[in-house]
């Protein structure tokens, strides 16, 4: 009996022992850094640019400075991220539907095509758009013909940055939507048609609600990295397209004003958390895990 009791105890503590290494790791390299980030954001920097020393003294002025100096970039980041998310959704949903229901034996090959860009470095993919959108390229001339460019340029406009963001995070929108549409029994759609629902109504009442978890997950996986991105703004945008990530990056790595940079990072994180909470509450889905 004593043996089984010991075995029972062992069984009970096993999951904790298995979880411990990963949890300890994330505690040290994810949770503690967030704490040091907030601490840094409330410090004052003394010393030179080359050797800044930080003094923690509840310097809340860093936050008001961050807002007043970089409000344009903060607001711009969220508009760009929102536009990119909406564009990605419009592009991804029909493709995900076709992949899930109509691709037949091509399904695996087409899914491979969706993740293909992942195997090329993010920086290089963004640089490729620089070639595609170059001032004298075929694509730019085509858009110019349609009267969609300003002064014959696409690069260094907000649309270049939004287009780049949409492109880079599109697979993150396609895959979750695909997964959730794929789970739907196609006979449900046929049942809706048999019950005289038109195409729009079938979409609104059957397809969309059933694929909503994928839409939510995809939007978050697109919006969050897009809001914090600075690579697309750096390569495809001009001076007037700097995003909040651009500022954080240069304040941390070039200017080395750590408190200001940390305050901006904290602001970005908090705004994203609030946006995510509101979004998931409004749509009423919490089983994203």
């Amino acid at each position: 009996m004593a043996g089984t009791a010991a075995a029972g105890t062992r069984r009970r503590i096993t999951p904790y022992l298995l979880s411990l290494p990963a949890l300890a790791y994330l505690a040290v390299f994810f949770v503690v850094p967030l704490w040091t980030l907030v601490r840094t954001s409330l410090s004052t920097s003394t010393g030179s640019v080359y050797d800044p020393t930080l003094e923690f003294n509840w310097e809340f002025a860093n936050y008001s400075d961050a807002f007043s100096r970089y409000d344009t970039q903060i607001v711009r980041s969220f508009w760009y991220a929102l536009a990119a998310t909406l564009l990605a959704l419009v592009l991804a949903y029909p493709l995900a539907y076709v992949l899930a229901f109509k691709s037949g034996r091509w399904k695996n090959a087409l899914l491979g095509l969706v993740i293909l860009p992942f195997f090329i470095t993010f920086i290089l993919r963004t640089l490729a758009w620089k070639t595609i959108f170059a001032d004298d390229s075929i694509v730019t001339s085509f858009f110019e013909l349609l009267g969609l460019t300003t002064n014959g340029r696409i690069l260094s406009t907000q649309w270049a940055v939004i287009g780049g963001l949409t492109y880079n995070f599109l697979p993150f929108m396609i895959l979750p939507i695909y997964v959730s549409i794929e789970k739907i029994d196609p006979r449900l759609l046929e049942a809706a048609r048999d019950l005289y629902a038109g195409g729009t109504r079938t979409f609104r009442k059957v397809l969309l609600p059933l694929s909503l978890p994928g839409v939510i997950a995809g939007s978050l996986l697109t919006f969050i990295p897009a809001a914090g991105d600075f690579v697309n703004a750096q390569y495809l945008g001009g001076v007037n397209q700097a995003m909040v990530g651009t500022v954080i990056q240069s304040q941390f790595l070039v200017v080395k004003d750590y408190p200001m940079a940390a305050a901006l990072s904290a602001v970005l994180m908090i705004i994203i958390l609030v946006a995510v909470l509101i979004y998931t509450r409004v749509l009423g889905t919490e089983d994203l895990v």
């Binding site: 290494p21 994810f30 076709v98 695996n108 293909l116 490729a128 070639t131 492109y167 006979r187």
Partner: protein, 290 residues
């Protein structure tokens, strides 16, 4: 890749049922055509930059930058490692990815096994906790790690890059392995124990073979993520150059077509790895009814 294999069978079954319906009206067919054309356009959009990158590895650029097509040339392919700094950066990336992936796969798989195999107090919170790093913007993760390393007074370099990569890889590994382990028949473990195998033997002979495909998939994914990571690496690298960091620097000074050659090699290498992986999986599970 192989998870989609298993879903093909029921989809075909459903097609058979659908064929019993009356033929679709012309309008619906037309709509279907537009839908397919739209999907093809989106795929083209995804594919276009990849094609440009591969094509420009055969470019014969004038000057320091490889942004404008000048003519076909195999020069860069004949000498892909012409620039030692570029080759070094790629080696550095591969080293980081190998070490980080190894650590992350061990830690992530253990926690995934705990979550799938056991119901325990706090497992729900752990599930949620694992997702949070994935939903944090990379710039915040990188910045916060930088403040930590500054606080510790650590020199930035290989070690800090690996530590940072493991951090975001753990969640990916845990979630991937977890998704693969769901729905396995764990009573096989009990059967092994009933037949007299001790826990170690049971783990090695029964549990491990069951979970290996999930772990391999997770390892490939997190290796690719590490190789590709730019933002977090930028904050934690100091003066060390990984392949993406090299490309970023080169984009400002000189971007030779060799960059594209190496990118194409990585692309082809990854596709081969995936192909071999799925072939191996098919061979391993041959004759099994899934």
């Amino acid at each position: 890749m192989s998870s989609t294999d298993t879903t093909l069978a029921p989809a075909e079954g459903q097609d058979a049922i659908r064929e019993g319906f009356a033929p679709t009206p012309l309008l619906r067919r037309l709509g279907g055509f537009f839908l397919n054309a739209y999907a093809a356009m989106v795929l083209f959009y995804l594919f276009l930059p990849v094609a440009v990158i591969v094509a420009f590895s055969f470019n014969d650029p004038v000057g320091k930058f490889n942004f404008v097509w000048k003519g076909f040339s195999l020069d860069a392919w004949r000498d892909p490692f012409k620039y030692p700094a570029l080759a070094d950066a790629l080696v550095e990336s591969l080293k980081v990815a190998a070490v980080a992936t190894f650590i992350a796969v061990v830690l992530g798989s253990l926690i995934a096994i705990a979550l799938v195999r056991h119901r325990f107090r706090g497992s729900g919170s752990i599930d949620l906790f694992l997702v949070i790093p994935l939903t944090s913007p990379e710039v915040v993760l990188g910045a916060s790690l930088l403040t930590l390393f500054l606080d510790f007074g650590w020199n930035l370099g290989f070690r800090t890059i690996v530590l940072a990569h493991v951090m975001f890889q753990i969640s990916f590994v845990a979630l991937t392995v977890k998704a693969r382990l769901r729905g396995f028949d764990w009573s096989l473990e009990d059967a092994a124990m009933d037949l007299g195998a001790n826990p170690t033997r049971t783990f090695l002979r029964v549990t491990l073979p069951l979970i290996v495909p999930g772990i391999v998939a997770a390892a490939m994914l997190s290796f690719a993520l590490s190789l590709d990571d730019f933002i977090i690496t930028l904050f934690t690298a100091g003066s060390t150059l990984t392949y993406p960091l090299f490309v970023n620097n080169a984009a400002k000074t000189a971007l030779p077509p060799q960059v594209n050659v190496l990118a194409t090699m990585i692309l082809v290498g990854s596709l081969l790895a995936i192909g071999l992986g799925s072939a191996w999986n098919r061979w391993r599970t041959r004759g099994q009814v899934l």
